[in-house]
């Protein structure tokens, strides 16, 4: 227990009150110091560093608007669609709360995608921040689940058929698949039972997991300290700044420096966010799809169904896996194994293992339907992110000091991701299929070949201290 602090009887009433609390709840005061006033973040953050705080803001917006929506929403297949319309038309200001929540979902993904891209640019996942990155990827996964289950709740056509498709993904798993899909739906088709359990997951289970992961993400970050655009470890640099003799010289306290920095970011964000809410809440059918304004009809699939924009890159990869594409993937596995066996410097035992594993994989790929491999590819596209800290072998952490051509590799990756996203909202077409197949190979090539390409090239000299101009 902390020492009981006496305070002078002449102290102000405010100081006395603070002292009273500090003696009875010191944890709170320690937390404020550790995470705010004495958390020393590198002083060279740029605008890319606002997206973490913005993600937290959007999380709060989603929780608060969600609480108010639940007061009027009815999780019942017969009433759900009506109750959403009731919120939109009859509940005073209900439309605003609902549009905040629906726009918030898309905003969440925009912010999180940019936040992740920042990590990619500056190597923020590199040692010792692997766990920060892994918690972050888990947040992304939980967020995808949260968004998917939330999208069923309005019980429109897109809600219904989107859930139908995604739940059926699980039935592609050999042996246990059909039973697993049945267990998820709680019925032989997506029905009232499915709606009720998705509601429960969306409002209670997943948000609790999300909050826990966010806490873990932040605590782990504050333990190892933030990375920065130069990718230089400020804790390894000289010590002593104007607030503390032991803190890194290139660190500044999070509060007030970055709290103010982030409040500015929040203002810019809210301008855009409210503009969307008031002037384009459907965002041209991307944030709220037109077909979702039609009540769910289990007998008719809308002529054009596509997931909401944030899922489309992964959806494109799912669609890309046809029987032909499985042969291409088999060729990739064979090539990879051949490389491992003939070229890599590994003990003979490992080479044998690689050959056996490749043979088994190829046999499975040919034996099981392309549909299952589509699901594996889609899941793998998310799961592969978890391994990024070990895939990146570049001597320089930040893109600033990597060979210039690495920037082009990143550019190809980003453009490819956007193309995949675009194709995912388009109806299936033969050309789109070929492009998305190529895109899938580029996406996985970027990650799986990263140990090779990221180590290539001559890195630029990394300075000892962060680059920073006072302004």
């Amino acid at each position: 227990m902390a020492e009981f602090k006496e305070i002078s009887p002449n102290a102000s009433a405010g100081a006395k009150l603070t002292n009273w609390f500090e003696n009875r709840f010191p944890t709170m005061f320690d937390a404020y110091r550790v995470h705010m006033s004495e958390y020393y973040a590198p002083k060279n953050f740029n605008f890319w560093y606002i997206f973490g705080s913005l993600a937290l803001l959007v999380l709060v917006i989603q929780i608060v608007t969600g609480i108010f929506l639940v007061m009027h929403y009815k999780p019942d297949a017969a009433k759900a669609f009506e109750s959403v319309e009731y919120i939109m038309r009859d509940v005073p200001w209900g439309w605003l709360i609902r549009y905040m929540h629906s726009t918030g979902a898309s905003a969440f993904f925009i912010v999180v995608y940019l936040h992740m891209f920042r990590g990619l640019l500056y190597g923020s996942y590199r040692k010792p921040r692997e766990l920060v990155w892994i918690f972050g990827c888990a947040i992304f996964l939980a967020l995808m689940g949260e968004a998917f289950m939330g999208y069923l709740l309005p019980w429109g056509q897109m809600s219904y058929w989107g859930a139908q498709v995604i739940v059926n993904l699980f039935s592609a798993i050999p042996f246990i698949g059909p039973d697993l899909a049945l267990l998820i739906r709680g019925d032989y088709v997506v029905s009232d039972a499915t709606l009720n359990r998705f509601f429960s997951f969306h409002v209670i289970a997943v948000p609790l997991v999300l909050l826990g992961l966010v806490v873990a993400h932040l605590l782990a970050l504050h333990d190892v300290g933030s990375n920065n655009p130069d990718g230089i470890e400020i804790k390894k640099g000289p010590k002593g700044n104007r607030w503390s003799a032991t803190a890194p010289a290139d660190g500044i306290p999070f509060h007030p420096y970055y709290s103010v920095h982030d409040i500015f970011g929040v203002c810019v964000f809210l301008i855009v966010f409210t503009a969307v809410i008031f002037f384009a809440p459907e965002a041209g059918g991307y944030f709220l799809e037109y077909n979702n304004f039609i009540p769910a009809d289990p007998l008719v699939t809308p002529a054009h169904i596509a997931p909401v924009w944030y899922f489309t890159p992964f959806y494109s990869m799912l669609r890309a896996i046809t029987t032909e594409m499985v042969y291409v993937l088999v060729a990739c596995v064979v090539l990879g194994a051949a490389f491992g066996v003939f070229k890599a410097k590994l003990p003979g035992v490992f080479k044998g293992l690689i050959a056996v594993a490749a043979a088994v994989t190829v046999a499975l790929m040919l034996a099981i339907d392309a549909k299952f491999w589509g699901v594996v590819v889609m899941g793998g596209a998310v799961i592969i992110l978890f391994f990024l800290p070990w895939l990146d072998c570049s001597p320089a952490r930040s893109i600033r000091y990597r060979p210039t051509w690495h920037k082009y590799v990143y550019a190809v990756f980003v453009v490819n991701f956007v193309i995949l996203a675009y194709l995912g909202v388009q109806p299936p077409s033969p050309v789109g299929e070929r492009v998305s197949q190529l895109g899938t190979l580029i996406y996985f090539g970027f990650f799986l070949l990263m140990p090779w390409w990221s180590a290539k090239g001559e890195p630029k000299p990394v300075p000892d201290r962060v680059t920073y101009q006072a302004h």
Partner: protein, 199 residues
């Protein structure tokens, strides 16, 4: 603390109680997970349905709901039936030989996949991921379809195409043909879906 010798008997009991606790924990999880299963009410909702097809004209379709799924009853024209064998080369499973017990009852294991050649009864759910394919009866080139299209169905979700016997074309996401539900004719114009003679 480190000077104290390890009391291995105490440790054995700790492990044993830990294991007993874990068994209890897993056993408690069973009822919770079990609630995810379809309820008795959902299981009971699978009764057979009767459909009157006296008004069905060639080239038309009726959609009936059976177990929450759309069941299509389509009356094909003689030309459409005549076209079916010509497609065999382009189909993944023209003779309905893949998983016949799941997708094609014995009385529908023929070229037209039906009891009566003109009337197709099929579950209108794509075996890929469960969307309901859209009717594309008009032959000829059109978006998302090959130029020599002879009429059939296109799944709007992932682009699987089916012919007018519900047979899937090669190299499409769906591995299987459309499911033919158990069905029988009660009379010339009354169809029972969900039950057949042997059941």
């Amino acid at each position: 603390m480190s000077d104290t010798p390890i009391d291995s008997s105490k440790r054995t009991w700790l492990i044993a109680t830990g294991c007993a606790g874990a068994v209890g924990g897993v056993a408690t999880a069973v009822p919770f997970v079990s609630t995810f299963q379809p309820s008795e009410k959902a299981k009971a909702a699978g009764a057979a349905i009767e459909v009157d097809i006296s008004q069905l004209k060639p080239g038309e379709r009726i959609i009936a709901e059976w177990r929450g799924k759309p069941v299509w009853i389509i009356k094909r024209t003689p030309e459409q039936i005549a076209d079916l064998p010509s497609l065999d080369g382009q189909l993944a499973d023209p003779k309905s030989e893949r998983k016949p017990d799941e997708f094609t009852p014995p009385y529908a294991r023929n070229e037209h996949r039906s009891i009566k050649p003109e009337i197709l009864v099929a579950v209108g759910i794509c075996p890929h991921l469960g969307c309901s394919p859209t009717e594309k009866y008009t032959p000829g080139p059109q978006p998302s379809l090959p130029d020599d299209w002879k009429g059939g169905f296109l799944c709007p979700c992932h682009g699987s195409t089916f012919d007018l016997a519900g047979r899937v074309f090669k190299n499409k996401p769906s591995p299987d043909n459309l499911e033919i539900p158990p069905h029988m004719y009660l009379s010339d114009t009354r169809l029972l879906i969900g039950e057949d003679k042997k059941a």
